[in-house]
């Protein structure tokens, strides 16, 4: 997969999970040079309640499947 911009990667994840891009941005890190999986970006940690509280979205983690999906794309 060709490298994409960080903004585009964040936009995809935020759109899919219906979370603010500002939340997703805190979770994103670049992959190593030469590693173009997922456009060269990865989610390096799980979202926390503290991440979501400023937006009043802490309940989102309780939604069916949400926690599982987000954990599945974390590479820590």
């Amino acid at each position: 997969m060709p490298r994409t911009s960080k903004e585009e990667y964040i936009r995809h994840i935020a759109q899919s999970l219906n979370l603010p891009p500002e939340v997703i941005e805190k979770l994103v890190a670049p992959r190593a040079e030469g590693d173009d999986r997922d456009g060269g970006w990865k989610i390096f940690r799980m979202v926390t309640v503290a991440d979501l509280q400023p937006y009043g979205l802490e309940g989102r983690l309780a939604a069916p499947g949400a926690r599982t999906i987000l954990r599945s794309i974390v590479e820590d």
Binding site: S16, A66, I69, S72
Partner: protein, 272 residues
């Protein structure tokens, strides 16, 4: 597929390995569907859903043994909790166990036919009921195989189960017409392995012995009238058609995406 013909439709698909089921799931997500990825293996369900999410789609994963009625009921309820209900059910769950009537044990026969037939029965039962309760005029697509149309030797459980799904499709299609639910089947054939190899790599489940796998399918390619084998994306496009309004007058039908293999005259081999 650039047209979002299934925008915001909810698809529940059973059997989401990186090959056919996962390819169908990703393909339907590309045309706008939200996908409930169901598999007995957590990594298949989870990585399928994760792959869709990473591409900007919406998906959740559900681990379920399709032969367990309580698990099926729970999975259908969880799909409703997550996305409001199911518009499209794709019954794709299967296991492979190539044995004949002489060497297959009763336990193996029962397990394989249960997954293919009973799994389809249970998911169809509970998804259809939910569709009826919600007055949702949905679609059900059952995945067959060219081995469900022809007598492949020493693959008796698979052949019988898949063949049974052909008439299951017709019977249920007639039963559900009054509710506006269409029921069709799709017949794939031996599938080009390259897309599945790429998907497995992308999902973090790389396949070993890739060349060996490619070699297995070369004889099938040579026997296909189109001289090439379909890929999972071709099946996804066909399912998107069957589930769309473009197919509103189609029910009880089997759509073959088989490169012409079933239509082929038995005494003719394309390479000759």
């Amino acid at each position: 597929m650039s047209e979002k013909k299934l925008q915001d439709k909810v698809v529940l698909i059973t059997g989401t390995s990186p090959n056919i089921g996962g390819g169908i799931a990703e393909g339907l997500a590309e045309v706008g569907a939200k996908v409930v990825c169901v598999d007995i293996h957590p990594e298949n369900a989870n990585r399928c859903a994760a792959a869709i999410v990473k591409r900007g789609g919406q998906a959740i994963d559900e681990v379920c043994d399709v032969t367990n009625e309580e698990q099926v009921k729970t999975t259908v309820e969880r799909a409703k909790s997550a996305y409001g209900g199911v518009d499209i059910l794709v019954n794709s769950a299967v296991i492979f166990n190539q044995k004949g009537v002489l060497d297959m044990s009763l336990a193996e026969w029962t397990r394989q036919t249960s997954i293919i037939l009973t799994g389809t029965f249970l998911f169809t039962k509970y998804v259809a009921q939910q569709m009826i309760d919600q007055k949702r005029q949905g679609n059900i697509i059952n995945i067959i195989s060219t081995a469900g149309h022809q007598g492949q030797p020493r693959n008796v459980g698979y052949c019988t189960g898949k063949s049974g799904l052909l008439n299951f499709t017709r019977s249920v299609a007639m039963e559900l017409v009054d509710y506006g639910i269409r029921v069709n089947s799709l017949t794939p054939t031996a599938t080009d392995p390259n897309e599945g190899i790429e998907r497995a790599e992308r999902w973090g489940q790389p396949i070993k012995n890739i060349q060996q796998l490619r070699n297995v399918f070369e004889p099938f390619r040579k026997g296909a009238p189109l001289r090439k084998l379909p890929s999972p994306r071709h099946y996804a496009k066909a399912i998107a058609f069957l589930a769309s309004d473009d197919a509103e007058m189609i029910t009880g039908m089997d759509l073959r995406v088989d490169a012409g293999t079933i239509a082929r005259y038995w005494a003719w081999t394309p390479e000759n």
